[in-house]
């Protein structure tokens, strides 16, 4: 860990619990750790261990009960809804297990979505989108709808959408969970390239040991407590 470049994500004493009916179920228990800039982190652990919850908190789509999170130098713990939204659009790229593409938009339009929130001209947006699609090798399918693409292709579009605003971090929740072996491998290679060639930081939740292999750092989450396993 290079002391000159500060960590891109800093988490201190994070607590989160959920209410189910009348019960309160604790999910994360005093978690503290850092993620370095350019790190490829895999979060693993048994079902219900709170991995996705932690991911959601880092990505700013959920709020902790106590503790502090700071991403790219910004403390996001207490930002309001609207501010978080704005922050997310520029700073976080999402990759979901089920791609979550908008079915009525073409691949191009899906990738363009995040850019509509920035003040760019039509021409500028087009340039960025094409670049992102080139990166994932899908320029020939720009005008296809998600329904016309395979699972692997849809996930690539999703990755293009995630990188197009040039975010500080990329978060991926089981990105290979719905893919066959070949597509899964393609996606993981793509993610590796993003880290090595473009210096992106990726935080990935996964069950898949092959996915974990590609990561630099693997952390285990069990019953809300974090352990460390190096690769």
């Amino acid at each position: 860990m290079d002391p000159v470049i500060p960590p891109i994500v800093v988490i201190k004493d994070l607590n989160k619990s959920y209410r189910r009916g009348s019960q309160i179920i604790p999910v994360l228990n005093n978690i503290s750790f850092d993620i370095d800039d350019g790190e490829f982190l895999a979060l693993m652990g048994p079902s219900g261990s709170g991995k996705s919850t932690l991911l959601n908190l880092i990505a700013g789509i959920d709020k902790p009960d106590s503790g502090a999170i700071s991403v790219g130098g910004t403390d996001i713990t207490f930002l309001g809804e609207a501010e978080l939204a704005q922050w997310r659009s520029a700073n976080v790229g999402f990759i979901f297990q089920f791609y979550n593409l908008i079915p009525v938009l073409t691949a191009f339009e899906n990738v363009e979505l995040p850019l509509l929130l920035a003040s760019l001209s039509r021409k500028e947006r087009r340039e960025h989108v094409e670049m992102a699609l080139r990166m994932v090798n899908l320029t020939d399918r720009m005008d296809h709808y998600p329904g016309q693409l395979s699972g692997g292709q849809q996930q690539r579009v999703a990755i293009a959408r995630a990188v197009v605003p040039d975010p500080a971090i990329l978060v991926a929740d089981e990105p290979t969970g719905d893919l066959d072996k070949t597509s899964a491998r393609e996606i993981l290679e793509l993610m590796e390239r993003l880290v090595h060639e473009l210096g992106k930081t990726i935080i990935m939740v996964t069950h898949d040991p092959r996915a974990a292999e590609k990561a630099h750092v693997v952390r285990n989450l069990d019953k809300g407590v974090l352990n460390n396993v190096h690769t």
Partner: protein, 385 residues
């Protein structure tokens, strides 16, 4: 505009569901429009009647007559320009289904009081000359294929017997709203016949029509007429033609009110159907809305998309409904002419239709918009997988 593109494409996503909803809304708008027109027709008699002609009738009720001798006394009252008189005849043409209004009137004075009855000069003269003559409106002539010179026979209900008339003139209404399904004949013919058959019924009129010199004298003249005949054997009740018609309508008000209520219920029913559709649609798309929120779109964006889709579908249904209302009205005018001599859709009704469609879209969108806009991202993403 991106949002417009998205909501149109979303609307077209489930073609079957969207078509069903559009059809439902279109049907509702047609029904609503036709019912409003029905209510309008009901009141139209009153709306287009004059506020400067007075009707004088027996104060007890319409079925009691007034003496002919009142005519000259009414004529003397200051402010009175002209007096005419007549009887509701209620004759039946062939059978009860062919209902139209027929009156025995004093021809010259009546036609003077009704400038909206437009008759070529020679037809008017022929009518006045022939005591057994009659005139009918163009619509009535067209309906039964009558031509000048034809003999028309009416079976009297109030004045018994078979009554024959010769058609001497066909009039047009000066305005679109003028009643053209009327037959007018000579009061003298009625009276002479009564003198021979039932003398005690002779020299009696059903109503007097009074023309005023200036419209602001109506109230004054009405009071004077009634005052003149108070405490006599046939007390009068004088009111403007419009008030008279409104009085009639008020008597069947219950039915009209019921029809108005029903027309609103139509809208409510389809609102429920549309709301159901939008609710289901929104529920299915929760994950998409959550995804867009993760990308940074705000509650307002989502709200506009959901709301817009609802309004879009509703307005298409509304437009189709408006278009279909016109042929529907024509059908009613032809098939149900016994009840509705004229049934035309007014521009006001069209605006009301579109407004109703808009309201349907808005109300249907309320709950889904609120749901979509306020969904917590983590919850929305958790829905699938």
């Amino acid at each position: 505009m991106f949002i417009l593109k998205l909501l149109i494409r979303n609307a077209l996503r489930h073609k079957l569901r969207t078509s069903l909803t559009v059809i439902g809304i279109a049907i509702a708008i047609v029904a609503f429009g036709l019912l409003r027109t029905l209510v309008g027709v009901w009141y139209s008699g009153a709306e287009h009647s004059s506020a400067s002609r007075l009707v004088t009738r027996n104060a007890i009720s319409l079925i009691f007559p007034l003496p002919l001798s009142y005519k000259d006394r009414i004529r003397q009252i200051p402010g009175v320009k002209a007096v005419s008189y007549g009887n509701w005849f209620g004759g039946i043409y062939r059978d009860e289904k062919n209902f139209f209004a027929n009156y025995a009137v004093e021809p010259a004075s009546y036609l003077d009081l009704y400038p909206e009855i437009v008759l070529p000069a020679e037809q008017k003269a022929a009518f006045i000359r022939d005591r057994k003559g009659c005139i009918v409106g163009q619509k009535l002539a067209d309906l039964y294929g009558w031509r000048i010179g034809d003999m028309i026979t009416l079976r009297g209900s109030i004045f018994p017997g078979q009554w024959e008339f010769v058609l001497r003139g066909i009039y047009r209404g000066a305005e679109k709203s003028t009643e053209e399904r009327v037959l007018l004949f000579h009061w003298d013919y009625l009276n002479e016949t009564m003198k021979k058959t039932t003398p005690r019924r002779a020299d009696q009129v059903g109503f007097y029509m009074i023309g005023i010199t200036t419209p602001d004298l109506t109230a004054e003249v009405a009071l004077k007429v009634d005052g003149m005949f108070r405490n006599s054997l046939a007390e009068t009740l004088t009111e403007t033609e419009r008030a008279f018609h409104l009085g009639f309508i008020a008597m069947t008000e219950a039915i009209v009110v019921a029809i108005q209520i029903v027309s609103y219920m139509v809208i409510v029913i389809i609102m429920i159907v549309a709301a159901n559709t939008m609710a289901m649609t929104a529920r299915e798309r929760i994950t998409e809305y959550a995804t867009m929120k993760t990308l940074g779109f705000g509650a307002v964006h989502i709200a506009v998309i959901v709301f817009g889709e609802s309004i879009f579908i509703a307005m298409i249904g509304g437009a189709i409904g408006v278009l279909l209302t016109f042929p529907g009205a024509r059908w009613i005018e032809t098939e149900l002419s016994q009840y509705f001599p004229s049934f035309s859709v007014s521009p006001g009704t069209v605006y009301l239709d579109l407004l109703a469609a808009c309201m349907i879209g808005m109300v249907a969108a309320v709950f889904p918009t609120w749901r979509g806009a306020t969904i917590r991202i983590a919850e929305g993403l958790r829905r699938i997988g």
